[in-house]
Symmetry: C2
């Protein structure tokens, strides 16, 4: 379950991000179909976890930053482009996402691919044009986004995931998929928060460790919920992983083994936070939420 | 025809670029199929016109820059990703490019899309990690690449091109397609050269004007060659545009009208150069080559 303080924090961020996300795109002089396709997927929603994590780092160090939202829009554009491309017929071939037709079902495959390319390309311009971040920090953010979103990060994880579908993965292979496919952008968000907050190298390294454990915990809980959750709770068909014989933590470790692993990553994440001079507890609340969430 | 001095210049750049292009990718810890797919298309060749233009600007202002090649690899990665995505079944559906099977024919559509995404993402990291460019200039280059390669530039042009296939374009619509689809990355290269050379705003504006005319001249000559060239000279089927009823300059202006337009853009490009304090004539030779080339 999500506690009230975290829920409030997430909702406040969501409102700002949702507004900022489409504002820049709407002002571009670009073909209407491209603009509509980009905005369609940006508006398709979601919790905006990645932008929220940037703010949570700043918040817990007692800071705010005028461009935290801007960096949030950049990472959310990357996340959105990755969903558009993942849903394509040659990838996961999904017709619906969060109850709405996927981008290519509405705009056709060609425009969907190009809308993804455009969001990806635009996100780097968003970082380059920020007004309240020095050039050196912008460069660090751009380099970090390129690394975590690209071949060494999210895109590489998507390739591993595709190639893993046809075989039984080992536990370490499964971890590699998740560290790259979903963990990398969470790592970007948390490290981006550290850059904006001007944290030291050692503080940043601790937060990177926090991101690692939180990212894996997130995925393990996803796998567990597929077994223990109901279709109603999840908002998607429960038990899908078992039917498709997907490599998951419960499949490799049994359900109780997966729960142990989840508890271990949660404990490591909390322990990382305890070694930091934090002024608030939003990151801790986020880690707790990940293991207690029911959807 | 290409003159000997320009030919020599192009060949020297090609050697360096070809080597640098794959070096970075080979060092990445990424799935083998992704790495092979990226390198396959990077090695598929081409004249490397875009990197060469960066060097030509520096050369003509009597300068060299240790990171000119680096910026060249970034723009060539963008060009390469755009070819991979353009060739996809849902786009131009091409099975061959320069006599070799296209990326998706070798690696499958999913990996081809992801290899394109990875090259696009990587190119921004290449710019961010340059060693001999100050942070402020890097930011200008990254912002310029995002603008010229994205929705307002190349990607937008690709959408216009796709949407134009099913209708007769006006001359100004046709120009908009080319300014965006092929002109934008040439503009990036020439302005990137100006940034690396530390040119003034007014000199950069003149070069931007040169890029505009050279980009359009390049495309008009392409359309003319489809009519006047032989299949043997072109290395691709001559007369294809007429068969497919494509909107082209000769179709809209007649062949002699298109040649007049070509001569006009050539003259404007040369005139732009004449107002600059140049120490060499590689840009002029490039403009001459564009209108006299036979393939």
């Amino acid at each position: 379950m999500i506690d009230e303080k975290l829920n409030q924090f997430i909702k406040e961020q969501q409102l700002q991000i949702d507004k900022e996300l489409v504002k820049g795109i709407q002002q571009l002089q670009i073909p209407m179909s491209l603009s509509e396709s980009m905005i369609y997927s940006l508006e398709a929603g979601g919790k905006r976890i990645r932008p929220m994590l940037i703010q949570a780092v700043l918040n817990d160090f007692g800071q705010t930053h005028p461009d935290a939202i801007t960096v949030g829009t950049a990472v959310e554009m990357i996340h959105t482009y990755s969903l558009i491309h993942d849903d394509l017929p040659s990838m996961d071939n999904d017709d619906f996402r969060r109850g709405k037709p996927t981008n290519h079902k509405v705009y056709g495959e060609a425009v969907a691919i190009l809308a993804g390319d455009a969001l990806l390309t635009y996100s780097f311009g968003v970082l380059a044009r920020m007004e309240s971040v020095e050039a050196d920090s912008k460069i660090r953010l751009i380099s970090l986004l390129s690394e975590t979103a690209g071949a060494e990060g999210m895109v590489g994880g998507q390739v591993m995931d595709l190639e893993g579908e046809s075989k039984q993965l080992s536990l370490s292979e499964l971890e590699q998929v998740h560290i790259h496919k979903t963990g990398a952008l969470m790592r970007f968000s948390i490290e981006a928060g550290a850059i904006l907050a001007g944290l030291s190298r050692s503080e940043t390294a601790i937060l990177r460790n926090f991101a690692y454990h939180v990212g894996l915990a997130f995925q393990i809980q996803d796998d567990i919920l597929d077994i223990t959750g109901t279709t109603e709770q999840l908002g998607k068909t429960a038990g899908k992983d078992i039917v498709s014989e997907k490599s998951t933590y419960p499949a490799l470790l049994t359900l109780s083994g997966a729960k142990e692993k989840l508890a271990m990553h949660h404990a490591e994440a909390i322990s990382a936070l305890e070694s930091l001079p934090l002024k608030d507890d939003m990151l801790r609340r986020f880690a707790d939420y990940i293991v207690s969430r029911v959807n």
